[in-house]
Structure formats: C-alpha cells, structure tokens
Symmetry: C2
Subunit: 181 residues, 2 copies
C-alpha cells in the first residue's frame, strides 16, 4: 500500500534557535488535502554508557518543557553537520566526564514522528575511563551524574522514574542486542 503524502504547499511559521516550525498542506492517498504541522530539529546523538561492572551511566537535568528534572542517557544535539559519533563522544565527555574505548552503533530513532523530524542516533560506549573534568555539562548546562546497576535501571523503568523516551528506546536496543550474543 502506497501511504505517501505529497506536499502541496509549505508555510514557514517560525525559525528559532533549536527548532523551526512549518505547516504543510499534503495530499493524502485518497486525494483529499490535509495539514501537517512539522517541527524541524537538527537531530541528536545519545549514549548507552556501560561500565566494566555492567553498570550504566545516566545524567539528570532539568527539562523546562516538562518542568521536571529527568534521569536520561547522556545525549545532545548535533552541531550542524557534525558526525553523530563525534557528537556522542563529545556529549558523553561533557556531561559525564567519561571517555570510551569502544563505540558501537545501536540504532537511530525518531522521537516523535507525528510532528517532528528529530532523529537521535544511539551508540553503545564500553571501556569507560574517567577524564579529569568530572562532567556536569558545559557552561549553561547543569547536569548530575549517576551510575546504576541494570537491575536498578529496570526498577526505575517499572516505577516510572525513568520516563525519557530516548533512554527507554536506547536501553531496549541495548538489551535486544545483548540478548543476541
């Protein structure tokens, strides 16, 4: 079944710092017209960071959009045309103070394809060694670092404390990949 929606016209709504917003008129498979509001985002990279002891490194930061501090896997926006792996390495170092010996691509996810093109490239980082920065984010970023056993992470998922979609998606891809070994 060809489900493609063709763009008939595009209206620019907003060009911002992190996001752009546009409204597209599209033609549906049955020929009818409909509207699509689309939030354009540069994309991001995220890291499932696994210690030698099999524990995972998470970060906690305030998310203004949801008015809560959330535990998440380390992540950050791509800097323009930046290579996602380089972005992942930079964000892991900036946020947690860790460097990794081995990097493996886990998957790429669309965070909310109903209204945004944001894609997050997720990597597994192993062979972690602390650098001397201690992490904590860059100048305007306030980040708390936590290291948890996988059982503690599962408990945080069951309790709802771990509620960030990219983090659950990344852990899902990690555990599915582990299960194949």
């Amino acid at each position: 079944m060809d489900l493609t929606e063709k763009t008939v016209s595009t209206e620019v709504i907003y060009q911002g710092n992190i996001i752009d917003v546009r409204k597209e008129t599209v033609q549906l498979p049955n020929g009818a017209l409909s509207q699509r509001e689309i939030v354009a985002h540069s994309g991001a990279a995220a890291v499932v960071a696994l210690t030698e002891e099999g524990r995972l490194v998470l970060v906690r930061q305030y998310r203004k959009a949801v008015e809560k501090a959330l535990w998440e896997i380390p992540a950050g926006k791509l800097d323009g045309p930046e290579d996602p792996l380089e972005c992942a390495k930079r964000e892991l170092a900036e946020e947690t103070g860790y460097q990794a010996e081995k990097w493996t691509k886990l998957t790429s996810i669309y965070t909310t394809p109903g209204f945004s093109d944001e894609v997050i490239h997720i990597f597994l980082a192993t062979g972690l060694t602390p650098d001397d920065s201690g992490g904590g984010g860059d100048e305007d970023e306030f980040v708390e670092v936590g290291i948890f056993s996988q059982e503690e992470i599962r408990a945080k998922i069951r309790s709802g404390e771990l509620s960030d979609a990219k983090s659950l998606a990344g852990l899902c891809a990690f555990w599915v990949a582990e299960g194949e070994k």
Copy 2:
C-alpha cells in the same frame, strides 16, 4: 542539587491544530538567563497489544515529518481532557480493529523533553478479539496492520526497521515488566 529553571517571561509564537509553540526566558541555577523553545502538545496514548500466541500488533503509517512510513505500536492523541485509557482503547480499535479484555498501565514517557511537553501513556492490552471493522484508521488516516512474533520484533529493532521511539520505549517497559514475572 536544585536544577529548577524559573520562568521569567513567555512569548507565544504559534497556536496550531496539533501543537502550540512558545519561547520562555528562564533563569538557570547559576542566575544566568537563557531561552527555551517549547512545543506544547495535548499528549497521547499508545498500546502494546499482545495476542494469545504472544505476538504483537503493530501499525504502519506515513509520517510526513520524516517522509517515511513507519511501523509503530498503535497510538493516538488524547481528545482534549480524555482519559488516557479510553484513548488507548479507541485508538487500538480504530487502527487495528482489535478490542482487548485486559488493560494494564505500563508507563508514561516524555517523547522529547528537550523541547516538548508531550507525554505518551502506554498500556499493555491482552485478551484481544477482532471487531468487525478490520481497523485501518479513521477517515483521514491510512494505516496498515501487521502482527509479528516477539522474535520478529527484536529482529526489526536490530535491523533499525523499528525506529519509532515510543514503540521501542513501550516494548522496553513491556519486556522489563515481563522479566519480573
């Protein structure tokens, strides 16, 4: 560590059909001011639908924002102040033609807390019986239904074919809950 960012002022950028956009000036924990672009969304409900044979019901639909048809767990927007469970039941029926005997809350996720308040409430639906509609979505929705074994789903995750964040997050919460039994 108190990571809270206080709102200093708010500017409305756009009030749309699916999303509203606003720009907030916030005060960071160190007293400095920063900007936050926030996409407000009504929230949604999604369903991990498990058949008696342990297979999962997915839907495939075109996502204009990413210009691709994606396999996803059944989901849809809350209709105003609608109860998330009622929304989940409605969307499962509309999109797949299934009704479920038993509903269990799995978790709630923030799809992209860096710039949106969207929350998706995810339920496990078991005891599925087909109604006579066959699903396929409502008037302006074009949806293909697929039923896959959990091993097929894991293969789709490993290959990257299953790339929708809420779907991976919901499957993660489902498998973590199953692992506890």
